[in-house]
Symmetry: C3
Subunit: 342 residues, 3 copies
């Protein structure tokens, strides 16, 4: 008797239970109902799949490396420093081509400072009674940039990106057989998107500021490189895009303009005593930031989910000949597919 | 005949099929059923929408720029180097105000090294038979920091952030008309959240360590700046928050304490021969890291999804006068809305 | 009368309405139906939960700090510079142990440049009529690396990571009582995963290139450190993994090989006049990039969602004794659970 109940229960597990339906032959209601279904499917396919690319796997963990190189020469003539010739090895700090670099456009040298300050006669200005380096730096209000032609310097930005998920790597420098191309080209969004050489004046202009205004007191410019790549369309459609912003003026107008710092050069005289030159340098700081993402339709994932969807729909068609429920399941299936793309 | 079947099939596509329902007038079961529905809707609205802000679009791709500046002077007196005055241009490496910077608190100078090591008499210590710089650096076990007052140095951190999706940018420096404010203020979470000036000793104290202990052998401090902004509440509610951690002691107590490196200054004598000073410097390395996200309710997205939801519900109300199914559709609609917020 | 209708409507809100079912005792259809249900549940549990770890909360906002230190000595002998001994303080730029560092493997020194160029007799090569530093740098095509044994230099990489969401921090350096371990060990994926000391030659070999080939003209190597940690399995299962890539050769073979830059050392003679040495340095640039994520099952979240699921299923079981609908709700519940893990 107990076995019989158990058996009945087990068998009933494989009963197919379905709702009783009424078919209302009301065309108005029927069309409205189909329209609603169509709009939902249209929304999922149109917005989620095509517009948002829900069928793709994406990778936002960009690995990036930036190398910079400047070109240009300037000459300054000041009472403290005399005639000086400035090459990139002098006006770029640090010189090794980092993603954050500083270009000197203005400076004040305090030469021959030494650490032993002797009290001279009272009306001398270079007297200091505390420990310190003498003579002390004079008060200095920049009048204009000393490296006036700094806006004609050019910066070459080499950016390498890699996405490990898709083993995809690319550079912002053009593959070319013309060796001299990278010596004479200038960046242009339309004509030369793979020539990463910019005039400094052009960069500040694109950021909405005048180079000469920035150069006297210094400033900070952000260079954003954005990579938004759809690998399904081919590697050649994956371009870098450049944006330029001034970083020391924010949208809420906080007071933080200008940029300067001090650095030193140390010397020793014949007696082995140290003396130094103190440089207060003003200039433009460039901060190169890279971000990006790639998307690709992965066959395995696609096939994996599609298979289940197709099974589901086919089985459903078999089970219920004329049902609205299969459309509900199609929606659930699409939801699924778009959800587990990651 | 065939046409007739086809026509019938086409027309039947617009039949409205609905389930047959039984209404059970059981109050206990009915109340329980409504309670379950309420709890699901409450969960979605309360947790997903209000607590997790599912209705907002977020942007986590922060673009950030950090500039630092130190202030403070110290004096050291050692047998090798004599009396030295240390300003920021000397004790900050590199001097140009990077997000990763090193503050010297202790050092050992080996002056007058030259590359030609001559074999002197046997009991001389400065003899070297291999190629190298002589005299070689002596063994040195730091006793205490030489720049003892380094904990009173102040660091000024200027952080600029930008989120390109919302064209929102902000800085951690207060907009003020009082020019001298940034000269005398000190950071305080409650009173001065927009004064980004910190005593070094205060930073290590907040990281749970004593500056003098770190200063002798060196160490590494992480300064995290977090921006978590809800733009719907207005820009003024978007504050930076600062966290401080010691980076050279990890939670699993790995052996990696202390921080030092060597750098050199090169000189030439009258004969044009090179000699140098080798500095082994100990100190505190500050590593400023910024992360953050912003959220904002985008009207277009909201309207787009809401419209479909509203249509769906209204149409449903029309089709089925007294149905629990409309609540299921409300849930599906809410799920949708929260899912495609990104 | 109006009150009566209102009351009826209110009461009918608590009616429990259920669909009428037909039980089809068709075993074939029933088994197929159950199989479909099982495959969906299997997919969710197997793929979403177990494979994709849908039950975990993840944190990808890694906070990371990298410190590097090089060891090794080399000797060069050139006509311009004479015999030079190179220690890490000389061949690493910058010397302070950054995550991006440059190791000099080849150089050209132009010593004793000064800013006053006098026109000498016509057949002199060091004449310049424009402003500039003289003598000018000679044309130089590297024949081979001058620091030939640079491939035997070792780099020690100290990487500290922290995930603020789980207050989890770890370092890539082993906790050990053996002080000398970090002096003699070399990284090995199997034997010494926590010894972060690499021969430079080994790094380029793993990146698929020969160090001597890179060393003459310079190059750029990316060192990726990946942390993928499942905290549910314990901290000790959270290992760093190292990957090495050459960054100046991209997959689309863009022309951008080699790496060099110029830097200077300034001197003054007895008369206080400046002269300098200009160094054009070639070498390998190492760029250490860290990324990672951690996952952990958070009890609160789990409990929170599970509770609702369990309630839902129990109530459902009570309401409908033998229903397929409870399986649909189980699916919805699982979907919920996996969706709101973040």
């Amino acid at each position: 008797m107990a076995g019989s109940i158990c058996q009945t229960r087990l068998l009933s597990l494989f009963d197919y239970k379905t709702e009783k339906y009424i078919v209302a032959k009301n065309k108005k209601v029927g069309i409205l109902y189909r329209l609603i279904q169509l709009s939902i499917i249209g929304y999922i396919i149109g917005w989620v799949f095509l517009s948002k690319k829900g069928y793709q796997e994406t990778d936002e963990a960009i690995q990036t490396s930036v190398i910079t190189k400047l070109k240009g020469v300037s000459v300054t003539n000041t009472s403290e420093s005399g005639v000086l010739v400035w090459g990139p090895e002098d006006y770029v700090i640090p010189p090794q081509g980092e993603a954050v670099l500083f270009v000197i456009t203005n400076f004040l040298e305090t030469p021959n400072q030494n650490g032993r300050c002797i009290r001279k006669d009272e009306n001398s200005t270079s007297t200091c009674e505390i420990y310190g380096w003498c003579p002390t730096e004079r008060k200095y209000k920049p009048q204009g940039p000393l490296l006036a032609n700094a806006e004609n310097f050019t910066i070459y930005i080499k950016n390498f990106i890699r996405f490990s998920k898709f083993a995809f790597s690319k550079s912002n420098v053009l593959k070319t057989n013309d060796d001299s191309y990278l010596k004479k080209c200038r960046y242009d969004e339309e004509l030369h998107p793979y020539c990463p050489i910019f005039r400094l004046g052009e960069i500040t202009r694109r950021a909405g500021h005048n180079f000469q205004d920035m150069a006297a007191f210094g400033g900070s410019i952000g260079i954003m490189i954005e990579w938004d790549c759809d690998l399904d369309k081919g590697d050649s459609r994956c371009h870098p895009r450049y944006h330029f912003t001034r970083l020391d003026i924010s949208s809420d107008k906080t007071v933080a303009m200008g940029f300067n710092f001090r650095h030193t050069r140390y010397y020793k005289n014949e007696a082995g005593e140290s003396y130094r030159s103190l440089f207060k340098v003003y200039g433009v700081r460039f901060n190169i930031m890279v971000n990006g993402k790639v998307g690709e339709m992965l066959f395995f994932k696609c096939w994996n989910v599609s298979k289940i969807c197709v099974c589901l729909i086919l089985a459903n068609l078999y089970l219920t000949s004329k049902s609205t429920k299969k459309i509900d399941q199609l929606i659930l299936c699409l939801l699924f597919f778009s959800k587990y793309k990651q």
